[in-house]
Symmetry: C2
DNA sequence: CGCCGTTTTGAGCCTAGTCAATGTACGTGG
DNA sequence: CCACGTACATTGACTAGGCTCAAAACGGCG
């Protein structure tokens, strides 16, 4: 929107960061020194504890990032969709693991170049900063969901959120993840997810095609009410 | 630590942000244009939906930040202790409410000055960025707790975390919040918090003085094991 | 066609929630 | 000084929402 032309540092007050930046994903291989990568279904980008050498931006497909407890219980803290940044850490190690949900592509940025990128390109810095703040906001909303919502409310929130993020008309869309991913994201079991979805379908709130990754939202109002 | 003297923009590569910054709270009224504020017990700093004119750093005491559902269910997403930043938003509005747990004091920074502060003072920028990333990490850990841990595990995590954050010897400390705050932080009820703590006490894991805000950790190992 | 990964459905159980009462600390005013 | 009120914490009895275990249905694909 504003001038992307230079003449930067002190005068121009480059759109106080904290404003929502546009976030168009860059074409792979271009932009401030990112490297394009293609990922196969289920492929792991990094694991918890790995050295955080890169951070990433999704170009196509979807990524799940998650943590595990010692006995295998899993919490998926976010699904990352095109445009989203993820994997940027305060410390030296990744604090969660990341895998492609299906085939996907991302741009990888070297973390140690971050300081330089930020000096060179205030717009990039603002994008990173607001992306980070937005992740934090999403995390905060999600804590409310995990700590205080019922199974029905969790699924209503989830469906509305996905509709908004991946559907053009916000009514019909294809879920990029399977039931167990949804369960591990919402703090439920796969059985409860399944049962609740069928229950929604029976009540006419949504339509589940038998193929069953596709969702049609029939009664958005009712879902909103459920969402509390 | 490093030069606070100028000569900035392009050359100096000011400690690749993402490194843990020292975070000593500034003396009120000083630092990059912060304003000191004293808060009485229970006093509200801002509410969800308020215009995000300021963001804050705790100097003394403790702050709870939380969200509410329409029917009053509450999720406390964090307790902020001395040194912590909070209340910085990507959008124009605060996305959660914040109140003092007891008497407390904070430094308020004008959000619209943030852009300028960041230009002027790379060290300040790095502190803000790593504080934000650290909040995100805490939020991610907390999502795992909320979504996948049992009541016992939640309380074990909580006690170990508080011990580390507020106790010098990591064994004896006074909780700055009441049971209902703990419950709303861990996604439990006050009764479950109470029952689980007495159960810990009976098993000799902790000691609860009858005055009862004070905790002594007797068997840290056992708590760690419980924590999963 | 038959296998395999995934989803759905069913039956029973358990953890944590609900409702209710009692206990304890503390401050205020008679 | 003590009676009372208020706020917070503990304990108990019962309930229920979501989990576990188990089996069946479905769809894609070799």
């Amino acid at each position: 929107m504003q001038a992307q032309t230079a003449t930067p540092t002190t005068k121009i007050a480059p759109i106080a960061f904290g404003l929502r930046a546009p976030m168009a994903p860059r074409t792979p291989g271009r932009g401030p020194v990112g490297t394009a990568m293609a990922l196969a279904k289920g492929e792991e980008l990094f694991a918890e504890g790995d050295e955080a050498e890169y951070f990433y931006q999704v170009v196509s497909g979807a990524i799940r990032s998650y943590k595990l407890l010692s006995d295998g219980r899993r919490q998926i803290d976010a699904f990352h969709l095109p445009g989203d940044f993820f994997g940027l850490e305060a410390g030296a190690e990744h604090r969660f693991s990341a895998e492609a949900l299906g085939n996907a592509s991302v741009v990888a940025y070297r973390r140690h170049r971050l300081g330089a990128l930020i000096e060179e390109d205030p717009a990039f810095r603002d994008r990173i900063m607001s992306a980070t703040l937005r992740s934090l906001e999403r995390a905060q909303d999600h804590m409310l969901l995990l700590g205080r919502k019922t199974a029905q409310e969790k699924l209503a929130s989830f469906l509305l959120d996905m509709a908004q993020r991946i559907s053009e008309d916000e009514e019909h869309f294809e879920l990029p993840m399977q039931r167990s991913d949804i369960a591990d994201h919402l703090g439920l079991t796969i059985e409860t997810v399944s049962r609740t979805l069928t229950q929604f379908a029976r009540s006419g709130l949504i339509e589940l095609l038998p193929a069953s990754r596709s969702i049609a939202i029939c009664n958005k109002m009712a879902l909103r009410n459920l969402d509390a």
